[in-house]
Symmetry: C2
Subunit: 241 residues, 2 copies
Amino acid sequence: MATRTRRSQRRTEALSRQRIVEAAVQLLDAAGEGGLTFRALTERLATGPGAIYWHVANKSELLDAAADAVVAAAVALKPAEPPGAPPGEIRAVALGLFDAIDEHPWLATQLAMQLSRSPWGSVTTRIFESIGQRVRALGVPDGNLFTATSALVHYILGAVGQNAANTRVDGLHVDRGEFLDAVSTAWEELDPDDYPFTRAVVDQVREHDDREQFLAGIDFVLTGITALHLPSGQACTPPAA
Amino acid sequence: MATRTRRSQRRTEALSRQRIVEAAVQLLDAAGEGGLTFRALTERLATGPGAIYWHVANKSELLDAAADAVVAAAVALKPAEPPGAPPGEIRAVALGLFDAIDEHPWLATQLAMQLSRSPWGSVTTRIFESIGQRVRALGVPDGNLFTATSALVHYILGAVGQNAANTRVDGLHVDRGEFLDAVSTAWEELDPDDYPFTRAVVDQVREHDDREQFLAGIDFVLTGITALHLPSGQACTPPAA
DNA sequence: TTCCAGCATGGAGCGCTGTTCCAGTACTGG
DNA sequence: CCAGTACTGGAACAGCGCTCCATGCTGGAA
């Protein structure tokens, strides 16, 4: 459904799926998740709903395409790193996603929703592939590749999903200190009997660095994979069941 | 806003926040995420929108409350296990969530959305606390509790979010074999140049067991935490950067 | 050059949603 | 018994995703 012959010039400037997706991303960036409306889209593209629906099946597909476009750019910006350092590359890919969500806050919710609605959609698969290649380069045996990669991807998606909203609310930048203060304060008012642990670590919330913590989590998973599935790691004892 | 004096009997059966949340959960269970409508809710409760809005601020709060109710039941069903086996308890809590999502498929999307929209809302905090208590019992030093617990929670939320839709689509049960077949087939049609890894592990998709893989991921994180933050684990070398 | 099939467009409008408003009812303290 | 508050539910509103369809535009055949 995409046999497009060359087109010199059309009415104003030929409408295309790509132009629609680009406009969608811009609207999402500008006004947050609620900002993407077919009304707003028609206005921005100076057209009508019918024209858009000719190129895109429905809003869900449009959101998928928007997320896919941003994610594709995020996980692909490897400047041909010298091979041999897969852990570093995995961190780089993950941080690419982390930064993409920082630039496009709506991506967090979108990623999370796509993960649970169509678990093996194009976006997830893209990330899975990018991470998986590096996991294989790590030396993980073939039989464990799927499990190891899945674990990494799950952690990454869970973490980036949360950390996104740490800096923005409804598309507006929020002072990070204020935000963490609010969280800390809320946690300090929790019932000490029900939430002893949360109250105990409340101070660490204010001090922690998102990126550092994100990378620390990746290192946990990588260490686990190394210890449990790499010959050199077999000496380590897994936690007793 | 809840000074409720004793109430003998009202019109039919006093409307209350709890009754509304229960009805919401039932609607979600029965008809999926799209099934929760204020129209449907008013019909089921034989009332009007105004009555519901007196007890609940908006739909978002209602969804939060519904998710919170289900999650609270899921993470709290510890039958006073004998202490001393924190890893097993962590797996139990995580599996509790896993099963809750299997029973209430809408919870996956809801959890994911709440994670990214209000990252430290009541649901997340509840899980964080439940896991955190066990991480502390593991012997992780105080300074690393927040990082370690966050990593675990992020992995768990990422994983359960995805595995939910593995068994159902739009609230209907889907044969697992068929579903995985569809995924495998789709993956086999990917471009070999762009997706060498995904195509290489396509067979493992069909064979893998969700719960096993979920637990394997938890073990990766637990092993990583043990190796990097527990004295006994310091002998292990983390993956080279 | 002329004509036409059909790709592509955009405006009107449908059914549905979350939400608000408010007049009215049930209940309670004085 | 009554005044006042707590609560109810019906009507209505703005906005949403989406469909329908008459119309315009365009590349190829004649």
